[in-house]
C-alpha cells in the first residue's frame, strides 16, 4: 500500500484522497480484482489517520461498486468494474472531466496539452496491467 500518498496540507479532504488513491490503484491493477484490500484498522494505523475517515472512503468505494464488502470477512476489490447505466457513466465522466479541465485551464494548460496528459495517464494504467 506504499502507493497511497496523503497530503495533509491539501484542500482535498483525506477521505476523498483515499477514495481517489484507491481508484487509481485499482485502475492500474496494483490492486487486482477479487483481491482483499487492507482492513480499515490496518490502513488507519499505517497512515495514522482516523479509522472513521478510512471507513468513509471504503463505504463510498463499496457504494460505487469498486469494492465489495463480504460480511465478517473483509473488503475486496470487486471482481469486475462496476456496471453503471450508460447515462450514469456519462454523468460521472462529465463531472470528473469538468474538474480536470477546470484545473488544467487554471494553471494555463491548453486543450491539446491537457488531452495529451490524459492519454498518457491512460497508457500508464494499461502498461502496468500488462506487466506479468
Amino acid at each position: 500500500m506504499r502507493a497511497l500518498h496523503l497530503d495533509f496540507s491539501s484542500a482535498t479532504p483525506i477521505w476523498s484522497q483515499i477514495e481517489e488513491g484507491m481508484r487509481r490503484l485499482v485502475a492500474s491493477s496494483a490492486l487486482e480484482p477479487g483481491r482483499p484490500v487492507p482492513s480499515v484498522r490496518d490502513l488507519a494505523k499505517d497512515l495514522r489517520i482516523n479509522p472513521a475517515t478510512v471507513a468513509k472512503a471504503y463505504q463510498r468505494l463499496a457504494d460505487a461498486g469498486v469494492f465489495t464488502v463480504k460480511r465478517g470477512d473483509g473488503t475486496y476489490v470487486a471482481d469486475a468494474p462496476p456496471v453503471l447505466a450508460r447515462a450514469e457513466r456519462t454523468k460521472s465522466l462529465r463531472q470528473a472531466a469538468l474538474g480536470y479541465a477546470a484545473f488544467a485551464s487554471s494553471i494555463g494548460a491548453g486543450h491539446a496539452e491537457a488531452a495529451d496528459e490524459l492519454a498518457a495517464a491512460w497508457r500508464s494504467f494499461a502498461a502496468r496491467k500488462e506487466k506479468p
Binding site: 496540507s9 479532504p13 484498522r41 488507519a44 497512515l47 495514522r48 489517520i49 482516523n50 479509522p51 472513521a52
Partner: protein
C-alpha cells in the same frame, strides 16, 4: 453496569460558559464547547492558554468559578467518582507510584472498574515492549506513557481524555502511541478529548478542533470545514490610474493575518471561496495572485500565533 445513560446522541463532555480565575488572572474565560460521541476533539493552544485548567475542571479535579462541566449529561463536580469510572485518562505528566510495576498497577486498577479488559492490557504492553516487572519509576518516559495509555484503555472507557500525551516522547514512541490509539478507534470507536502540541500527528486523527487563546476559545470547528475555509493568498499589489481603493481587496475573504512583503502581500484568509478568488485575481492592480491550502499547524499559527490584538490589521495594506 453504568448507573446513568447519556441521552442518545448527546455530548459526552459539555463545557458551558466555563470560567476559571486565579486571583486577578483569568485562565479560562467563558469557554463553551461539546465533545460529541464518536468524535476526536483536539483542544489546541499555546502554553498558558488555559488548556490544563480546563482539563482539570472537565475531570472534576478542580472547581470552576462558573460553569461546571457535564460528563455524560451529569455534573462532574457532583458525581465525580461515578462518572470518572467511564473515563480513561492519560495525564500530562505520567505519574504513578514509582515502586509499582505495570503488573501491580493493573492488579490495583482492575478492582476499581466494572469493565476491565486484562487481555487487551497485556497485549498492548507486549506490542509496546514494556517490561511488566520493572518498577514504574525506572521506566523511560515513553514507556510510562504507554503503561498509562494501557491502563486508561483497559476499562473500555466511553471517553478517553489525553492531556498532551506525547509531550517529551521521541519520534518512535510518539508514532507507537498514535498507532495504538488508531487501533482503539477502529476497534471500539472510543470518543476522545485531547490536548496536544503535536499538530502534525493529529492532522488526520482529530475530527474537530478548538483553539484556546489567552483563556478564550477563539475557534471551535470540524477539521474538514476548517481546512476548506482557510487559505494563504499571495499577490502583488500595484497602484493603477483607475484604482481608487486600496486595502479593501481582501474583504470578501475575511483575512486573519496580512503581511506586507517586499514582493507584495501575503495573507491568511478564513473565508475562502473559489469563485470570489477568480474575481479577486482579475482585479485592477492585483498581480500574480496565487493561493495555497494550509496544514492544521499553519492555521493554528495564523489564529493563535500572536498576542491578542496584534494578529489582525483589518485586512488593510498600505502601498
Amino acid at each position: 453496569m453504568t448507573s446513568s445513560v447519556p441521552p442518545p446522541g448527546g455530548p459526552l463532555l459539555e463545557i458551558r460558559n466555563l470560567t476559571v480565575r486565579y486571583g486577578k488572572a483569568t485562565a479560562c474565560d467563558d469557554v463553551s464547547f461539546q465533545v460529541a460521541p464518536g468524535s476526536v476533539y483536539a483542544l489546541l493552544g499555546r502554553n498558558g492558554a488555559g488548556k490544563s485548567s480546563l482539563v482539570r475542571c472537565a475531570l472534576g479535579e478542580q472547581k470552576a468559578d462558573s460553569g461546571s462541566p457535564q460528563l455524560f449529561g451529569e455534573d462532574v463536580w457532583k458525581h465525580r467518582a461515578r462518572l470518572l469510572s467511564r473515563v480513561g485518562v492519560v495525564p500530562e505528566e505520567p505519574d504513578a507510584p514509582a515502586a509499582m510495576t505495570a503488573r501491580h498497577l493493573e492488579a490495583f486498577c482492575r478492582e476499581l472498574y466494572p469493565r476491565w479488559d486484562s487481555v487487551s492490557f497485556n497485549q498492548r504492553l507486549e506490542r509496546f515492549g514494556v517490561p511488566q516487572q520493572t518498577p514504574f519509576g525506572r521506566l523511560s518516559k515513553g514507556q510510562k506513557g504507554q503503561v498509562l495509555l494501557a491502563l486508561a484503555l483497559a476499562p473500555s472507557p466511553d471517553l478517553l481524555v489525553l492531556d498532551d500525551p506525547t509531550l517529551g516522547l521521541d519520534v518512535v514512541a510518539r508514532r507507537a502511541f498514535w498507532e495504538e490509539l488508531m487501533g482503539e478507534l477502529a476497534d471500539r470507536g472510543t470518543t476522545v478529548f485531547l490536548t496536544t502540541h503535536d499538530l502534525a500527528a493529529i492532522e488526520g486523527i482529530a475530527t474537530r478542533v478548538g483553539i484556546l487563546k489567552e483563556g478564550r476559545l477563539v475557534l471551535d470547528e470540524e477539521v474538514e470545514t476548517l481546512k476548506s475555509r482557510f487559505r494563504k493568498i499571495r499577490y502583488g499589489n500595484r497602484i493603477t490610474e483607475t484604482r481608487t481603493e486600496f486595502g479593501t481587496e481582501l474583504d470578501a475573504f475575511e483575512s486573519v493575518r496580512v503581511k506586507v512583503r517586499g514582493w507584495g502581500i501575503e495573507a491568511v484568509v478564513s473565508n475562502w471561496d473559489e469563485g470570489a478568488f477568480e474575481t479577486f485575481r482579475r482585479q485592477d492592480g492585483v498581480e500574480g495572485a496565487e493561493s495555497s491550502a494550509m496544514s492544521l499547524e499553519d492555521i493554528f499559527f495564523a489564529v493563535a500565533g500572536e498576542p491578542r490584538g496584534a494578529e489582525k490589521n483589518g485586512g488593510t495594506a498600505t502601498p
